[in-house]
Amino acid sequence: MPDTARLLPLAVAVPLLGSVLLAVAGHRLPRLGTDVLAAFCAAASLGCLVLLWVRTGDGRAVSWVGGWGPPGGAPARGAQSVGIVLVADRLGLGLALLAAALVLAVVAYAWRYFEEPVGGHAGVFPALLLLFHAGMCGFALTGDLFDAFVFFELMGACAYALTGYRIEDPRPLHGALTFGIVNSLAAYASLLGIGLLYARTGQLGLAQLGQALDTRPPDLLVVCAFVLVLAGPLVKAAAAPFHFWLPDAHAVAPSPVCMLLSGVMVELGVYGVARIYWVVFAGPGGIPHPAFRSVLLVLGTLTALLGAVMCWQQRHLKRLLAFSTVGHVGLFLVGVALLDPAALAGTAVYVASHAGAKAALFGLCGLLLDRYGSVDEHGLHGRARELVLPGLLFAVGGFALAGLPPFGTGLGKALGEEAAGRQLPFLLPALYVLVSAVTGGAVLRAALRVFAGAGPAPVDRPGEPETSGEGEEPEVRGPGRRLPVPLVAVPAVLLLCSLLVGCVPAVGARLAEAARLFTDRAGYLAAAYQAPPAPAAPVPPAGWTAAGVLLGLLSAALATGLALLAVHPLHRGLGAALNRRLVLPLRRLHSGLLGDYVTWLVVGLAGLLVAFAAQR
C-alpha cells in the first residue's frame, strides 16, 4: 500500500467520484437504490478519511500533487516547486472527518425526508452534497493559497444551490441569492489579495509565501493583502459585520442542509483564518502577533455578543439556531485570536462538539416542520406535547449549547475560558459563560414553550421587525404519515457524539496534540519542504478541571434560569426600555436587503484595513 501522504488527494477524489456516480445513476434507480448509493458513497468517503486520520497520527502528511515537489527532492529548494502541496494535520483532517460524518448523518436523515421531489433529477441532491464535501476536504487539506480559494468556491457553488433547494417558495431563493452574492464578493476580495501576494513573491504555497514574506519587513501591501485574503474566510465564518447572510440563508435552507452549513462550513471559515495567519502572516514579514490578537479579539467579542443578543430575540426556530451559530463562531474566533495552543485545542474540541449539538437541533427543527409546517416558537406553543422524545432531545441540545459538563461543548468552553483567562482575566471567561448561557437559554425557552406548552401563549409585538416561522412550506408532503425513524434517531446519535467528545479523554488529547502542531509555524514550513519537523512546544492540557466544570454548570444554570424567566408571566415589561433603545436598532440592521449587507461588507473591510494599518 502506498504511503499515507500519496493517498491524501483521495479525500477529494472519492467524494467527487461518488457525486458523478449519483448524478449518472441517481434517476435511473428506484428511490431506495439512490438512498443506498448515497449512503454508500458518503460512508466510503468517511472510511477514506478515517484511514488517513489513523495513518497520519500526530504528525503531518505532505503530498505534492502530480509529483511536482521541489526539484531533485531537495527540501531546501521547496520554493522552486511549481506544484501544489497538500499538508494534512489533525486539525485539517479532523475538520474533513467532521464534514464526512455530518454528510453521512445528513444522507441518513434525508433517507425519507424529501418528497419524491425532482422528477427526473433524483440523485442531484446527494450528488451536490458529496461535491460540497469534496470542496470542504480540499479546503481543509490544501497547503496552497490559490488551491484553497478554488475549493472555497466549490464549497460556495454547492452551498448556494443546496440553500435554494425549495424552489416553490420565493424565500429560499432570496436567501440563497443573498448568500451567493455576499460570499462571491468576499471571494473576489480574496482573489485580489492572492494576486497582490503572488505578484510580490511569485509563490502560491502557504509555506512558500510565508517564507518569501519573511525576507523583508512588512509594508502596506502585506497589510492590504492580509485583509483582502481574509475577507473570504471571515464572511464564510459569519464574523460581524460580515454575518448578515447567515441567518437569512439558514432560516430558509432545508434543515438537513443547515446541519452542514452550521455544523462545519462556517467553522471552516474560522479554520481558514487561523491557517492562513499562522503559516503565511505570523512571521516577521507579516502581521505582528499583538495586532492580530487585538483586532480578532474585538471582532470575536462583537460577533459573540451580537449573536447571543439576536439569538434571544428570535421566534423563528431556525433563525434562532442560526444566530446561536453566530454567537459560538464569535467564541471560536476569540479562541483563535489568543494565538495560544491551549485556546486552540479548546476551540477544536468546542467545534467538534458544537457541530453535533447544532446539527441535532436543526434536525429536530426539520421534524417540527415535517409535523406542523411551522418553526414558529409562538405559533407552536404547546402544540408539540405529543412528541416526548424529540422534546427531550431538544432540551438536551439546549443544555449542550449552554456547555453543560460532560458535553464536549463544556470541555471546549472550559479549555477556552482557562486560556482566555490567562490573557484577559474575568472579562473573556465571562464572555464565554454569557454567550453559551444566552444561546442555550434561548433553545431551552423554545423547548419549554413548544414541547411543554409552558407559560402563557406569547403575544405578537406589533411594530417590531420580526420574522415569524409561520407559513413555511413543509419540506415533506403528507404530514399525516408516521414519524420517520431517522428524523429522531439521527439527532439522538449526533447528541451522543457531542457528549462523547467531552467524555472520551482521547479526543481532547488528540486535538491538543493537533493544536500544538497547528501553532508550530517553523514545523509547518519545514514539513512543506519535506525536512524533518522542528521540535515543538509542550502539549497543552485538554482534560476537565474543577473550575471548568463549575463554569459549565454555571452556564447551564444561567441558561435554565433565563429560559424559566422568559416563560414566566412576571418578566413582562422588564427591560422594555433597554429593548427599545438597544436591541430594536440592532434588529432593524438585519433588514434582509442585499444592498445593506454589501455595504456592511465594505465597511468591515475598511475597518479591518484601518485597524491593521494603524498597528503596523
Binding site: P2, R6, L8, P9, L10, V12, A13, L16, S19, V20, L21, A23, V24, S63, W64, V65, G66, G67, W68, V82, G83, I84, G119, H121, V124, L131, A134, G135, G138, V150, L154, A157, G164, Y165, I167, E168, L173, L196, Y198, R200, G202, D219, L220, L221, V223, C224, A225, L589, S591, L593, G595, V598, T599, V602, V603, L605, A606, G607, L609, V610
Partner: protein, 242 residues
C-alpha cells in the same frame, strides 16, 4: 438604513478600501520586469514535459489539482442549475411554435454551424500546442451549437442537442478527471502525475497526460455549458405558469 445613508456609508468605506488597494498596488514590482520567479520556473517545467503551450502545462500538469477543483465548480454549477430550474409544481412545459426566419439568416447558420464546431474542435485538440485548450474550445463548441437557435428556431436546437447524452457526458467527463488522477496513484506515482510517454515536442502527441486531461475538460465544458444554457433557455422559452 435609508437609501441615502447606505450610499454615503458605502461610498466612504469604498474610498478607504480603494485607497489602501491603490497604495498596495504602488508597492508591486514594476510592470514588465525582465524576471518573474514563477514564470521562469513554469516555462522550464513545461519544456521539460515537452508541452509547447506553457499555460496548458500549468493548467493540466503542474497545477492540475486546481483545474480539477475548477472543473468541479462548473460541474456543480450545472447540477445546481438543473436542480434550481427544475419544473416547479405550478409550472408546465409547452411546445414552442416554429418562428419565421429570413432565408439569409438560415443560410448563415447552416454554413457557420459546422465551421464553428470545427474551430471549437481545433482549439480543444491543439490545447497542448497553441493558445486555447479544453476550457476555451469547449465554450466555442457549446456556443457554436446555439447558432441553430439563433439562425433557425428552438425546435432546431432541440434536434442538434441530445440533452440526455450530454448530461451523462458532462458527469462522466467530470469523473474521468479524477480517474486520470488515480491512474498516477495506481502506477506507483503521485495523484495526477504525468506518467504517460511525453512524445515529440510541438506535435499533437506531446505532453503526455496534458492532451488527455485537456480533451476530458473539453468534453466536460462543452457538454456542461450546453446543459447549463438549456436549463435557462427552457425556462425562458418552454416553461409557463400553470
Amino acid at each position: 438604513m435609508s437609501r441615502r445613508a447606505r450610499l454615503l456609508l458605502l461610498a466612504a468605506a469604498g474610498l478607504v478600501v480603494a485607497g489602501f488597494f491603490a497604495a498596495a498596488c504602488l508597492r508591486l514590482p514594476a510592470f514588465g520586469a525582465a524576471v518573474h520567479p514563477y514564470g521562469e520556473r513554469a516555462v522550464a517545467a513545461a519544456l521539460g514535459q515537452r508541452t509547447a503551450n506553457t499555460v496548458s502545462s500549468v493548467n493540466f500538469d503542474q497545477r492540475a489539482f486546481d483545474t480539477l477543483g475548477e472543473e468541479s465548480i462548473l460541474y456543480a454549477s450545472v447540477l445546481s442549475a438543473v436542480l434550481l430550474l427544475r419544473l416547479a409544481r405550478d409550472e408546465r412545459k409547452h411546445e414552442p411554435r416554429p418562428a419565421p426566419v429570413l432565408p439569409s439568416t438560415r443560410l448563415f447558420g447552416a454554413v457557420l454551424l459546422p465551421v464553428t464546431l470545427l474551430t471549437g474542435g481545433y482549439v480543444v485538440a491543439h490545447g497542448q500546442l497553441s493558445p486555447g485548450g479544453g476550457f476555451q474550445g469547449g465554450v466555442v463548441l457549446a456556443s457554436g451549437l446555439h447558432l441553430a437557435y439563433v439562425a433557425a428556431d428552438y425546435r432546431a436546437l432541440g434536434r442538434v442537442r441530445p440533452l440526455a447524452v450530454l448530461d451523462v457526458a458532462d458527469a462522466l467527463a467530470a469523473g474521468a478527471f479524477s480517474v486520470l488522477g488515480l491512474v498516477g496513484l495506481v502506477a506507483g506515482a503521485a495523484f495526477l502525475q504525468n506518467t504517460l510517454p511525453l512524445g515529440t515536442f510541438n506535435t499533437l502527441a506531446s505532453g503526455g497526460l496534458v492532451p488527455v486531461v485537456n480533451a476530458v475538460v473539453g468534453v466536460e465544458v462543452a457538454s456542461g455549458v450546453i446543459v447549463l444554457l438549456a436549463q435557462f433557455l427552457d425556462q425562458a422559452v418552454e416553461v409557463v405558469e400553470r
